[in-house]
Amino acid sequence: MKNKVIIFTLLLVSLFGCKTEKVNPNYQEDALQPEYIHRSMKSLTDVIVHDIFSPPVASRNYVYPSVAAYQVLIHQYPNYQSLEGQLDGLAGLPKPEKDKAYCYGLASVHAFLQTSKNFIFSEQKLIAFQDELLEAFKEIGIPQEVFDRSLAYGEAMSEAIVKWSSTDNYKETRSFPKYDVREDPERWTPTPPDYMDGIEPHWNTIRTLVLDSARQFVPLPPTAFSLEKDSRFYQETMEVYNAVSEAEPEHVEIAKFWDCNPFVSHVEGHIMFATKKISPGGHWMGITQIATKKANADFMETTAAYTLVAISLFDAFISCWDEKYRSNLTRPETVINQYVNQDWLPLLQTPPFPEHTSGHSVISAASSVALTNLFGDNFAFVDSTEVEYGLPARTFDSFYDAADEAAISRLYGGIHFRPAIEYGVDQGKKVGQYITENIKLKK
């Protein structure tokens, strides 16, 4: 209701108030508020949560819009350079016309939102936000001609990025075979309550952006499956069992804080309901927002940070998923219910894909490397990303500190064995380091 009133007022203003164009001499500066990209990113996150995307797919939804925004904005900030030639297949992006004025702040968020629409379903929600944002830009007083030209450039960039994205093998993988469930005890099988099919068994065939292949950083394999009481695997199983059965309150808090499950279904007989949250990638995009704000990053630094983290997440998911469907390891819940205690429940709902390595561990480690690279180690921050999902903020001394906690939280949650966490962190760090070494944002 309130929005409608605003829009109506704006309409009135645009219809009657703007007969004679009022140009704001500082429009360039005023358009470069990092808040615009923050809000756009948040809007994308909200739609991703609503539409329900699995964590790897969500990472794809973040990366292409971010790159689009980045590629526009570098024309405002000459010390930053294009990712063309740095990201696999990215080339020949549209360039602004020489000697023509652009409002790159506007063009950048426009490119971001236009691109975003191609990756989510509920376009109406994004369009509503976009309309609101464009009105805000109009308020700034950008010359109409510049305004129009900027939108056109944003759209051109969006088109080019979407075209590039269409060759990443995503579309093709939709038709690839589902995960094949077999009865081997060590092999992953679907888990309660929904017994969902394994998510994205062919994600390792998605084109990596920086890594030379999905297999570039293969982690150590999981511990050999064994039901012998004195075996390492059995002990690791009991470690998870006890972590839940005898959980310390702080560990419960940590597990819940990092749950980041996009779709948890609750089953009580006929009654089913779901709770939704941001994906783990979304959580790290949230941390990026917190960090950039705390560091007073400008529009360019903010966009660059989002882009670098998004790229790290994207490649980290591919690397992790490559291992998941190589080792195809069963989940603690399956082993424990089958051989230890039929009634044992993990603290968190077991996500629908193989156990090794832990996605949280890999992608958190990779993101923390990217953020540390940008903002330095020992960058303390208060992580309030999950507050809107009903979880209190947590304080971290550094990005690595946060990543380590995210990693171990999966053991506390009862959904990962220890090697998936330790080897996963190692795998993620290697991915992150390789990306920061090979991506040059500044000239």
Partner: protein, 1083 residues
């Protein structure tokens, strides 16, 4: 807009019609009139007021409603009524006659508390000749001292609650009690059905059935009032009754299910626990026998009734479930499990279940076959009670169903988008959140349903079968309340007055019978009554607890139609003596008291089926490949063909041998017959090497014309891409002694299905037709089939290479009588076709020309025989059958479109099938979106998707991008009889339509044998299991029908593939992924 206009026109027409005096038609709506409480005095409403402490989230069965019990409590000859309430007061009404009732609750001694009552029954529990009342309670959500209540009749229309004294004061989650005499000692024992409330988060193993649950587990109580204990005693454990938390018991009936004279128990369980069929072991104990008796059952079983539906003397079973019939609700609601989950559930040990009503017809061998799909009674939405009685007195029992749900929690938009809250995982939601959830959960009021049985097992169309006004209806009971000779109904509704449906059937005769034992302290319940009139024998058992949370009339009512006399009434008393009563008048209630002239009654053991069966130690082992993982939108698995069997004399010793070709990774095997025994020939290295092929068909051919039999094996499998080496066919040459060596020859690489060998060009060398089944992972596209001309025994030439369709069978025969052989073939999504030999080595494809132009089906097999003796071969063709979720006709075909929706190089098959008044897409939105995510752009919600009825409803599909369009116009198995060079189709009779027919065989006597079933449809269609095989002894040329049916002695639920004659009256029954059988029929 368009619709509104039509409705308006229709209204006009209706108005216009109203000026004419209305002629009562035979539609079900006309049978019953709703009487309101002002007229009837039945002032009762089960009102629910969800509170923060008690609501659907706190108690999952919050909206399961109350029950109705019927019985004459004051012995005035009129049956009275008790109605139970969940949060209000139960009420007892005295029947004053003329459909008027008086509320006597307050003076009756019935407690006026508001503890949660569920099911109710009226029975003479203490054997004093007066009906008592037993009320079940959901104690844990009620007051502390709550327990089930037993109201003993004081004889003056007042009652004394005595549950404690009788040992029946169970306190837990009770649903319903049923009183019956399981040990035939003359007193009534009690089965107490309770329900679990624990979360069904994970399936758990079925071994949990043996763990006692104090509050939720079912109980069996033996009546020992006249023994030392002087009360009812819990005998559950020793009697073999599961009393565990796995049982979500929502309905129970005690009836003699297997017709052996001992009363059995059927328990309908909600959720993943299958229903229980407890067969009574001579009163000693019970054995849960569901897997041996039923092939599958309802998944969310809510109501049950058992009676003889087809007047064959055998009990049949109906269970209700929750499948919506409205296409919008169907597409918006969660229903059948995915195939993956279906498979996982069975690994935990649970039996097959489908989320639809089941009408289980008992066969002569006492196995049940579900015919709900065939009779279109499978979808009545969220259904509770079912009552099987002859409501229109036409001699055929009808089906009454109550339905409706106050809060529809399986609405997919609700689950995925509406109710989602950003709450911490696994945490209880706050009260405010709960309330918000409730307000958003959709409600579904529905009209109750009465399917009238208008012909033998043929029921009124659903659209003509709704009665009354939309309600949330639960328990229901029938009785002839006004004694006008027909059965009326009382239905307990949530948040609305109970419905009294007054029956105004006219014109048909009836008889009602009330039974009294010689010694009135002995129960007459469980007695069986047979009414003989003309050709008709009607059977009913004296069972009152039926439907849902309710018990119905104690009188047995028989509709007699236009029968004018009753020849006799046979009562089989509870002690299983038989007494014959003659000279009973029509159209009245007879009180029959047990007399002295009784004789022992012998229950015939299960009817022996002619023939014998030998199980061979030859097993077909399917390789582990689930087609739906690779090809998500398919309706059937194409990798489950085979075995390939050939019975011929390979070693030329005068005895035929058996070749057995297995699935992928299973070696082909040759069994030589030596002295009557099959001895496996060992050491064939070529066979060993060729284990990697999936053998789907094979035939002998004297390829090199050296006088012995060579072997052509068709390779198949849907798991390898077309042209893959592993799909290549093979020829094995015989050295004359039965040693088969593979001939190095390049042959077709397809997922083959069928071979037909004959010398079509008359050059003396046998030629080969190879029919192909599919292009792997491109369902719907037609692969190449081949005609291979034998080049003098040295090689083959391709004489014909055509995309004929998804072939399943082919036969050479001179179909047009021009002295050369033609090729007849059939398959899926295609007409039966003939390649007519032009005599010059070329062929012309004909179908329409032969009258087969509307025959597109899911054909498995054809058999050619001149049945009508006109000199031209007729075609007997095996199809998916009429007992199938899809229905098809030339007017309303099932439609298949194939296209690459998202242009990623992978085709999508989209199927639309007729569903009641409209069409439904076969794929779920979830499956489609997983393959083509962009579909979600158009259909952001399930609600949006629920309007999809046709390919046109997909914006992203352009007509020109559709690469293949196919249809199914006929799903019944048929005989096509020749008529002047053209074929005239006639469906095979009832029993041949029960399942998918895999193959026919006709013996020397002209008997038609067939084998059927198919387990490899997707769960959405369901395993097809209702008939493993049968035989028609005669063909009536005058009517063109097969007659005189008998079952073959095959195990139920067999996944047969073929029937191969092995000699006179001996057949090899080939079975997929199972052992093989030899069937011997009596000479």
């Amino acid at each position: 807009m368009h619709n509104k206009y039509i409705v308006f026109l229709f209204l006009l027409l209706t108005l216009a019609c109203n000026t004419e005096p209305q002629i009562e038609s035979a539609t079900t709506a006309a049978l019953f009139t709703e009487k309101n409480s002002t007229a009837s005095g039945l002032s009762f409403s089960n009102n629910l007021n969800p509170t923060s402490e008690l609501n659907i989230l706190e108690y999952l069965y919050y909206y399961n409603g109350g029950g109705v019990a019927v019985g004459d409590i004051n012995s005035d000859g009129l049956e009275d009524v008790m109605l139970t309430a969940n949060q209000g007061q139960d009420k007892l009404f005295l029947n004053q006659g003329d459909l008027k009732f008086t509320d006597i609750t307050n003076q009756s001694g019935i407690k006026t508390n508001s503890d949660w009552s569920s099911g109710v029954s009226m029975d003479d529990v203490n054997g004093d000749g007066l009906l008592d009342i037993y009320v079940c309670k959901v104690a844990p959500i009620s007051g502390e001292a709550t327990h089930n209540e037993l109201y003993i009749n004081n004889g003056d229309a007042t009652f004394t609650e005595s549950a404690g004294q009788y040992g029946l004061d169970f306190s837990g989650y009770s649903t319903q009690a049923s009183f019956f005499d399981y040990d035939r000692d003359g007193d009534l024992d009690m089965y107490l059905l309770n329900h679990s409330v624990h979360s069904v988060r994970s399936y758990g193993k079925i071994s949990k059935r043996n763990e006692l649950d104090e509050l939720s587990g079912d109980r069996l109580y033996e009546n020992r009032l006249n023994e030392a204990e002087a009360k009812f005693v819990d005998v559950s454990a020793e009697a073999g009754i599961y009393s565990s938390a796995l049982g979500y018991g929502l309905c129970v009936i005690t009836a003699d299910i297997n017709n052996d004279g001992w009363t059995d128990i059927y328990v309908g369980n909600d959720f993943h626990e299958n229903d229980y069929v407890y067969l009574n072991n001579q009163g000693q104990s019970f054995k849960e026998s569901m897997p041996g008796v039923l092939n599958h059952c309802s998944k969310f079983t809510m109501g049950v009734d058992i009676t003889d539906m087809n007047n064959d003397g055998l009990q049949d079973i109906f269970t209700t479930d929750m499948l919506p019939y409205d296409e919008v609700v169907a597409l918006k609601s969660g229903g059948e499990d995915t195939d993956q989950v279906f498979k996982i559930r069975s690994t935990f040990g649970f039996e097959d279940q489908y989320a639809r009503n089941h009408l289980q017809l008992q066969m002569p061998d006492h196995q049940f076959s579900d015919i709900a799909l065939m009779t279109n009674t499978y979808a009545t939405d969220w259904s509770w009670s079912v009552l099987l009685q002859d409501f229109d007195n036409d001699t055929r029992n009808d089906i009454f169903i109550t339905n409706g749900i106050v809060k529809r929690p399986n609405d997919l938009d609700y689950i995925k988008f509406v109710n989602t809250q950003n709450a911490g995982a696994n945490e209880r939601l706050t009260q405010a959140q709960l309330d918000a959830f409730l307000s958003k959960m959709p409600a579904q009021k529905l009209k109750n349903i009465l399917f009238t049985q208008d012909d033998d097992l043929s029921f009124s169309e659903l659209t003509n079968s709704t009665i009354g006004s939309p309600t949330f209806s639960n328990g229901a009971a029938y009785a002839d309340f006004d004694k006008d000779g027909d059965l009326d109904l009382i239905v307990n509704n949530i948040n609305a007055e109970a419905t009294l449906l007054a029956n105004s059937t006219k014109g048909n005769n009836y008889v009602s019978i009330s039974l009294i034992n010689a010694n009135t302290a002995q129960t007459s319940k469980d007695a069986i009554v047979k009414v003989y009139t003309g050709e008709l024998i009607k059977t009913q058992q004296y069972v009152t607890t039926r439907g849902y949370q309710s018990s119905s009339s104690h009188n047995l009512h028989f509709g007699l139609g236009d029968m004018t006399t009753i020849d006799s009434v046979v009562v089989i008393w509870p002690d299983r003596t038989k007494e014959v009563f003659k000279g009973l008048a029509l159209n009245q209630l007879h009180e029959i008291k047990k007399g002295a002239d009784t004789k022992p009654y012998v229950f015939s053991p299960q009817q022996a089926v002619a023939g014998s069966l030998e199980q061979l130690q030859i097993r077909h082992i399917e390789n582990k490949f689930d087609d739906y993982n690779a090809d998500k939108l398919i309706p059937e698995l194409l990798s489950r063909e085979g075995p390939a069997v050939v019975y011929e004399d390979f070693d030329q010793d005068g005895q035929k041998d058996l070749f057995f070709g297995g699935a992928r990774y299973q070696e082909p095997r040759l069994f030589l017959r030596k002295a009557g025994e099959f001895v496996e020939q060992k050491g064939n290295l070529d066979f060993k090497k060729d284990a990697k092929y999936e053998d789907v068909d094979a035939a002998v051919i004297d390829f090199d014309k050296d006088g012995d039999l060579d072997l052509y094996v068709v390779s198949g499998g849907n798991d390898e891409k077309e042209l893959n080496k592993q799909l290549e066919d093979r020829i094995y040459l015989n050295d004359g002694k039965g040693n088969l060596k593979r001939l190095p020859l390049s042959l077709p690489h397809t997922n083959g299905s069928s071979i037909a060998v004959a010398d079509f060009d008359g050059d003396g060398f046998e030629d080969i037709f190879i029919g192909a089944r599919s292009i792997p992972s491109s369902y719907g596209l037609s692969p190449y089939s081949f005609l291979l001309k034998n080049k003098g025994g040295f090689g083959v030439d391709i004489a014909l290479k055509e995309r004929l369709g998804l072939l399943t069978d082919s036969k050479w025969a001179d179909i047009d009588g021009d002295q050369d052989i033609d090729l007849v073939f059939c398959g899926d999504w295609m007409n039966i076709g003939v390649l007519v030999n032009q005599g010059d080595g070329t062929f012309q494809l004909q179908s329409d020309e032969l009258g087969l132009g509307q025959s597109a089906g899911l054909w498995n097999t054809i058999y050619l025989e001149d049945l009508n003796q006109d000199g031209q071969l007729d075609i007997i063709a095996g199809n998916a059958g009429a007992n199938f979720k899809w229905k098809a006709s030339p007017e309303k075909p099932v439609k298949l479109y194939v296209m690459d929706m998202d242009e990623n190089g992978q085709t999508e098959p989209l199927i639309f099938y007729p569903y009641f008044s409209t069409y439904l897409p076969f794929t779920s939105m979830d499956e489609l979106v997983s393959q083509v995510p962009s579909v979600r752009k158009q259909f952001v919600t399930y609600d949006a998707f629920s309007s999809v009825q046709d390919i046109k409803d997909f914006q992203q599909i352009k007509a020109e991008s559709i690469v293949e369009r196919k249809q199914i116009k006929e799903l019944r198995s048929m005989v096509y009889l020749s008529e002047n060079g053209k074929y005239e189709g006639k469906p095979l009779p009832f029993n041949a339509q029960l399942s998918t027919i895999q193959e026919f065989s006709i013996n020397d006597e002209g008997n038609l044998l067939f084998v059927g079933n198919y387990h490899d449809y997707l769960t959405e269609l369901g395993k097809n299991t209702a008939n493993s095989g049968g035989m028609y002894k005669d063909f009536n040329a005058a009517t063109g029908t097969f007659e005189n049916y008998q079952q073959l002695p095959l195990p139920a639920n067999l996944n047969t593939r073929g029937i191969l004659p092995m000699g006179k009256d001996e057949y090899l029954i080939s079975v997929n992924n199972d052992t093989q059988y030899i069937l011997r029929m009596p000479k």
